[in-house]
């Protein structure tokens, strides 16, 4: 488990530095893969047989394969691929992530002192905060989607570790929601591209007051 935590932290740190849309989506897929493995480990600790592998199987199909595939198809239509140079430097988001890591350990020690899964709980809070950070700091529509799914991954991991897995029906519903969310966002993004000729969300500032 420790190796998985380290791997996850590394991937999320890399995520904050990537500006290329395609690579960012590959990174997202990798992130989900780590979570699928964590799911499998937890599953075998608490259940047996088929039930143990269903959550990890769903993570694998939906988050590792389906969602990145849908997003990559969208990226294929977009010509200017890299993140527009943000006025806020990438280094700031990495530095913020480092702060978030400290913060998440502090939160865990305060809220759930002496828990066995300290590292992985802290890691999941770190992933949630970094996802939020990506949504706020990035301007491209696709990068904001990446942030949203990163955050959702973190929440899923948090739930997995805190509660040994939710009931199957709820889990199924959550996966369905994530999938629909991505489809809706992809539809909106492709229309953004048609109407505004760009997927930079900074053009969305007409509605005020």
């Amino acid at each position: 488990m420790e190796y998985l935590v380290i791997l996850l932290l590394l991937i999320v740190f890399v995520q904050t530095r990537i500006m290329d849309l395609k690579r960012s989506i590959y990174c997202l897929s990798l992130q989900a893969l780590v979570i699928a493995i964590a799911c499998l480990v937890v599953g075998f600790e608490h259940a047996e047989g088929f039930e143990a592998i269903i959550p990890s199987l769903m993570t694998l199909t939906i988050k590792v394969v389906c969602i990145p595939y849908i997003m990559l198809r969208l990226v294929g239509q977009i010509t200017d691929e890299t993140e527009i140079k943000s006025n806020i430097n990438v280094n700031y988001s990495t530095a913020a992530s480092a702060l978030f890591l400290l913060l998440s350990y502090m939160i865990i020690d305060k809220v759930l002192p002496a828990t066995a899964a300290r590292d992985i709980l802290a890691a999941s809070i770190f992933v949630i905060l970094t996802g939020l950070n990506l949504i706020v700091m990035r301007r491209r529509a696709i990068m904001q989607m990446v942030g949203l799914i990163t955050m959702e991954n973190g929440i899923y991991l948090l739930g997995l570790m805190m509660t040994e897995g939710l009931p199957l029906v709820i889990e199924l519903g959550v996966f369905l929601d994530v999938l629909i969310a991505v489809v809706v966002l992809v539809i909106l993004t492709s229309h953004l591209r048609l109407s505004f000729k760009t997927t930079d969300t900074n053009v969305l500032r007409k509605l005020k007051g």
Binding site: M162, T163, L176, D177, L188, S195, F196, K206, L207
Partner: protein, 498 residues
């Protein structure tokens, strides 16, 4: 036929209708009628449910659950659903024949109906599931489906509104999910992981949850569902989404979706109430509620966009409802439930009329509309009635519920907060009335289309407005409704065994 069969009807018919409408096999005329018939059958099913279920006990199966509280919400949603189906035809046809967003292709009407039915389907799901986790799933699904409705026009402003709506609401609702997870963790540590997040089981064992964890869970749930309800300062998506959506959808968003979000919030509040304690919940709710009303005032006064003005008026009413929940007395909860009913119906009427005014004058800018009384007498009658209603003037129903909420402020001893809210409400009144009267009176300066609402529309609108009067003023005389609302309040305050 028992309640379970009714649930199957509610959950199968709208989905089926959505698929039929999406398939493009039928002509537009037939789809209008398929939509109306579906809504009518579902309404009949709900009326049947009202006959066999009197609200004195809780009907519960493994996944479904029905008690007085959800029955009350089902009534609200069903009234709006029925009205939307019957007045939708003429509205959409006008939008299609004029230079509206449906003029590009008649297929869009089918798509609109499909999305609307799916949206209503999700809201029904929110109201009849038993599990807090599944409620979260359904609420998130309503966000996603209504996002496609908000962006339905697919012009620049609609896309902007939809993008903000999805981003803000999804992030907000993710916080609610964290809250739900913490609640589940509290449940596993206190009473075991059996019946995970089952509302009835949690309700019965609510006192044994760990106070610190419950408090943490409540904070996350408050922020999460507060975003979805539209509390300031998380309300930034609300005016955009309400103003850019097609008018029928705006009415549903403001009336039905907001009701559903408050319903889920109420269910969660009841669970954490015994261990967190009343004081914390009251303080947090009142602070944010008053902030919400305060945010609405300046924006109503300086507003130029007719639908944005209505959106900010929704914000004011949302603030009052959350304040009523925060006070958590028998009177305030009863008033809040009544307020949800009245606000949903009147706001639906107002958004529909606003949509009609936009069609008649081809502008959303209120400053360019004058002399409506002379040009479009029918529309202006309903506009005036709706505005009087939403401001809380008698005899329309909102007067009673608003009055009870304000009364409960003073009865609970929050005199200062009550006084502040009254001053703020006066501000909203001045703003709304100024704009409405300015539109109605004066000399017409701009040609208008003919007076558009047809006979079905006006009948439905009158029925909705009258329903608020009758139900609010005569609540104690309508035994069924009175019993339902009393039992719902008992469930919320913990005085009713399930």
């Amino acid at each position: 036929m028992d309640a379970r069969t009714v649930f199957y009807i509610i959950l199968s018919l709208p989905a089926l209708c959505a698929l039929v409408a999406l398939s493009k096999k039928l002509s537009t005329d037939v789809i209008h009628w398929v939509n109306r018939v579906t809504a009518t059958i579902v309404t009949a099913a709900i009326i049947y449910l009202g006959i066999i279920y009197d609200g004195n006990y809780a009907y519960s199966t493994e996944y479904f659950y029905l008690d007085a509280l959800s029955m009350w919400m089902l009534i609200i949603i069903t009234i709006l659903y029925f009205s939307m189906a019957w007045i939708g035809k003429s509205y959409l046809e006008r939008e299609h024949s004029s230079r509206g967003y449906l003029s590009k292709s008649p297929d869009l009407i089918g798509r609109y109906y499909a999305l609307s039915q799916a949206f209503v389907w999700c809201m029904y799901l929110v109201l009849i599931v038993k599990n807090l986790g599944l409620m979260w799933v359904a609420i998130e699904a309503t966000t996603l489906i209504s996002a496609l409705l908000v962006s339905f026009k697919f012009n620049r402003t609609a896309l902007e509104a939809a993008w903000k709506y999805v981003m803000v609401c999804t992030v907000g609702i993710c916080f609610a999910f964290i809250g739900t997870l913490i609640l589940y963790y509290a449940q596993t540590t206190a009473i075991g992981s059996l019946h995970a997040l089952n509302w009835v089981y949690l309700y019965e064992n609510a006192a044994s949850l760990d106070p610190a964890l419950a408090k943490l869970a409540f904070c996350f749930l408050f922020v999460g569902y507060g975003t979805k309800i539209g509390l300031a300062p998380m309300h930034s998506w609300l005016p955009d989404a309400y103003s850019e959506a097609p008018s029928l959808t705006s009415g549903m968003l403001s009336g039905a979706l907001c009701t559903c979000a408050i319903y889920v919030f109420l269910r969660n509040v009841v669970i954490v109430m015994p261990s967190v304690g009343l004081e914390f919940i009251t303080q947090l709710s009142l602070t944010f509620a008053i902030l919400t009303v305060a945010v609405a005032v300046p924006f109503v006064v300086v507003q130029r966009d007719i639908k944005r003005m209505l959106a900010y008026s929704s914000l004011e009413n949302i603030g009052l409802m959350v304040a009523g929940i925060g006070l958590f007395t028998t009177l305030s909860l009863k008033a809040t439930l009544l307020h949800m009913f009245n606000h949903a119906l009147i706001k639906f009427v107002l958004f529909y009329i606003a949509g009609t005014i936009i069609q008649e004058y081809r502008t959303k800018n209120m400053m360019r509309i004058h002399g409506m009384v002379a040009q479009v007498p029918h529309t202006s009658t309903f506009w005036l009635l709706g505005i009087i209603g939403i401001l809380g003037m008698p005899p329309l129903g909102l007067f009673f519920s608003k009055f009870y909420i304000l009364e409960s402020f003073f009865k609970s001893g929050y005199n200062l907060a009550g006084a502040i809210v009254i001053v703020l409400l006066a501000g909203v009144l001045i703003g709304l009335l100024y704009h409405a009267v300015r539109m109605l009176c004066g000399k017409p300066r701009r040609p208008a289309e003919a007076d558009l609402p047809d006979s079905i529309d006006t009948t439905v609108l009158i029925a909705l407005l009258l329903a608020t009067c009758v139900v609010s003023a005569g609540l104690s005389e309508i035994a069924y409704m009175n019993n339902l609302i009393d039992n719902a309040v008992k469930i919320l305050t913990g005085g009713m065994p399930l």
